[in-house]
Symmetry: D2
Subunit: 269 residues, 4 copies
């Protein structure tokens, strides 16, 4: 019998697959904080066939997102334990064959399907504890979506705090920055089971969402703290200068991407 | 030195107290599902000095709430790991000295401060895993706040599923039902350390929030499933007939309540 | 109907009570790290009717414990989600009416029943993420219970790291230190619902376990790091000098304690 | 610059890699429950180039494991939040080119590194909440490693209970069953980013641990309950007849495996 399922486990029915067939739909909110780090610290994160962006090559975006998501039949929406998750990620830009791309270099999520969905897309996802303040419409326990509204956000993993930020709205915005706005350019890697330093899967892929929709969008000022951990190296991306922060409502759907480059297993980097 | 702190631990500075001084502020969303159970199953949950409500004594409300909350200086809002929590609870009505009250008979939350804050207020809080679908404003991954919007909600504790519900908006509403609308009438109990069956603390208290504000409010149809667990008895409150469901935005502040009755330690029930 | 249950919720059957009737049985392992802090920092944690210990009044024990536990019918043992938990706590000594007692001033646990059981016993329990290395009997992934065996331990709460320690066995021991060896002397507090600064429950209680049994027991050297948090004040108990560390297997049962002092509600401290 | 790291994220230093370089060391305990299901339900889980085992083709092992683990420098052992995890998995047997293999068809773990380490090894790992009773050496709160010792074990995922088992020791054993005793034969799959139904990575790999060591080992009787979930299909592996259960201490190290078969991207299954 041919086993079924978009992702493992592959079974007779496909029901147990960790990921359903695409497309996948997402609705949520994002907090984007852009700053300048040393360009060398961005460049050192790029494989040698990628170049830094022409302008502002040290620009970094740290992004928190809180999502509701579902497969094409919306079944997760009525079982919210399977439809809600949070993530936080760090994006830089790079150039490949003359085009500028966004590239996620670090990311933490809090569910298994979002983690492996990311691996499928080349996001280097780990698990973490992620928090971001929500805007409110009644009462006093939170910020309003208006000038002066103040938000907090944090990430930790294995009980080590990694990031903490505060953000204050200063006005409306018609965009959410420039670092995460290009098509993504990611690697998909799986080391060979032989453990000989080669990769069984080594691809450079690009993708972008479709039907992306933006709701309310604001800009603001922020403060960002980056902490050390024995198994992270975020502090290398030290902030030199804040650019700007953004909060927005956003939705998107995702179906597929394009393989740009694939390495034979015998090829040496 | 006199130790400080609203709640334990009480220390020299009071900073470590599990609860800050009142008032406490809450903003969030609530899903309320009202149904009729056997009146006897409601009555058996009341101490013998409380009577059932005159009308519809078997009415039960199962409520999910997702909160952001803070003390009076709003400090938690910028550290959202300390300001967001969810809870699910079961409310019935009772009468005492001729007045009708609401009374929470079961409740699960997911943070320690919300749990002990509840104990202070006479809510019999346990920990649980609580989920409720959020409405969306962009994209496809969730319901809109409009007729036909569909939500899910669940509670589990110690890996035993306790409740699962679905709700569909059928129209606007100017209220959120009648079961949870009275002042609360709760017991605060602490068994004596001697373990002799007596209580060191035995109070009947009443309270209500102040500055309660209601945002958008909808009514709808629902389906509710109640599951068994070795350490719960929710299935005794078996639904006979659904009344109605409600989804609303809500905020409130809470400062204090009133002790209605206090039992001497020697008194026998 | 008279409602049943050792602890809330009290119901017709008592099955849903967060705590079963005593006795409660515990089997586990404990890592105890004793050090000297400034005596003033210990004294400031004591209500004014308690005195510091005569000797070594600045002595502090930081203790990690990993437990399996059950009620008298052992029912939790076959549902281990309900029988296993970890805790970490800070103990000092004090004197009352000429006797020396141990007193827990800070404590974190990871289940609701252990938290509220602690509240019943006067432990000021909060929730936390607690870890301690386990000894091994086969292979390489951990320490053996022998000289040179090295252990780690940590506590965090609300994504703020609070404590991290390492411990290395230097030899056998026939005891586990002197700070946590006395009967416990705790307060049980519940602020009045009126929020007027008075307490509805204000007791001084003492207790100790019965049928305590000690298995293998070792002493060793340790390093302890204490971190700050917006809602803790552990760093006030700054270590000046390490005394010694201990690792041991231990079991105990607990049934009840004795009320030493009870304050009338009108009494002023 | 050439990016470093066994697994993503690959960086300038390699420190942030979700997995360290092999070898990896494990010490722990395993509970293995073997039963017979319908052979067709085992066969339907195998790709069509794998055959069922010659004897007892419907045999299934459900296994719980609690591990401490570390990389080759033992660094995780002193930060136990990064060294302890639990997993539960379902193993069947199959034949390939005349040899009999074990094959994991379902598995849940509770840390990200163990999950992705499994993906590297072809284990179809998801996240779950996993519990297994621990034996005790002092006191009453658990089983002893002796005849009559009783254990419980459970798995749930997304708040849906999947498995619950009880096990009672009936005697010593010099083995832990036959289903999980062969080299593992796993697939490593990664669907192409194009979402066209093809796989970018499609390998059949085999591996086994080295330096495996077994400590105390017992056999016993068991009861196993399998529950349904919207995103699992474990109930298809319905037990017809129990074979036997085993509890043992075990350690192993893992370095690498061997690729048996690799599919070109254009090949059709």
């Amino acid at each position: 019998m041919s086993s079924k399922g978009f992702m493992f486990p592959r079974t007779a029915t496909g029901r147990a697959s960790l990921l359903p067939d695409t497309p996948w739909h997402y609705s949520g909110t994002m907090l984007t904080l852009e700053y300048r780090s040393h360009p060398d610290r961005v460049i050192e994160l790029l494989p040698d066939y990628l170049e830094p962006a022409d302008e502002d090559p040290g620009a970094v975006a740290v992004i928190w997102a809180e999502w509701q998501n579902c497969r094409d039949d919306y079944s997760e929406i009525l079982d919210p334990a399977r439809s809600q998750y949070k993530e936080a990620f760090v994006v830089v830009r790079c150039k490949y064959q003359g085009e500028t791309y966004s590239r996620c270099v670090y990311i933490w999520v809090d569910t298994d399907y979002a983690m492996v969905r990311g691996h499928h897309q080349g996001y280097p996802k780990k698990l973490g504890s992620i928090w971001m303040t929500r805007p409110i419409t009644v009462g006093r326990a939170g910020p309003r979506l208006e000038v002066g509204g103040r938000f907090g956000a944090s990430v930790s993993a294995y009980d080590h705090k990694l990031l903490h930020a505060t953000f204050e709205i200063t006005g409306d915005s018609d965009h959410a920055g420039f670092v995460n706005g290009h098509p993504m350019l990611h690697n998909r890697w799986m080391p060979a089971i032989e453990g000989d330093g080669s990769d069984s899967l080594y691809e450079l892929v690009t993708m972008r969402a479709y039907e992306a929709e933006v709701g309310r969008c604001f800009k603001g000022d922020f403060e960002l703290q980056i902490f050390d951990s024995p198994v992270e190296e975020l502090t290398r991306l030290e902030p030199i200068e804040n650019i700007a922060g953004y909060w927005r409502e956003v939705s998107q759907s995702w179906r597929s991407g394009t393989t740009m480059r694939r390495r034979n297993l015998d090829e040496i980097e």
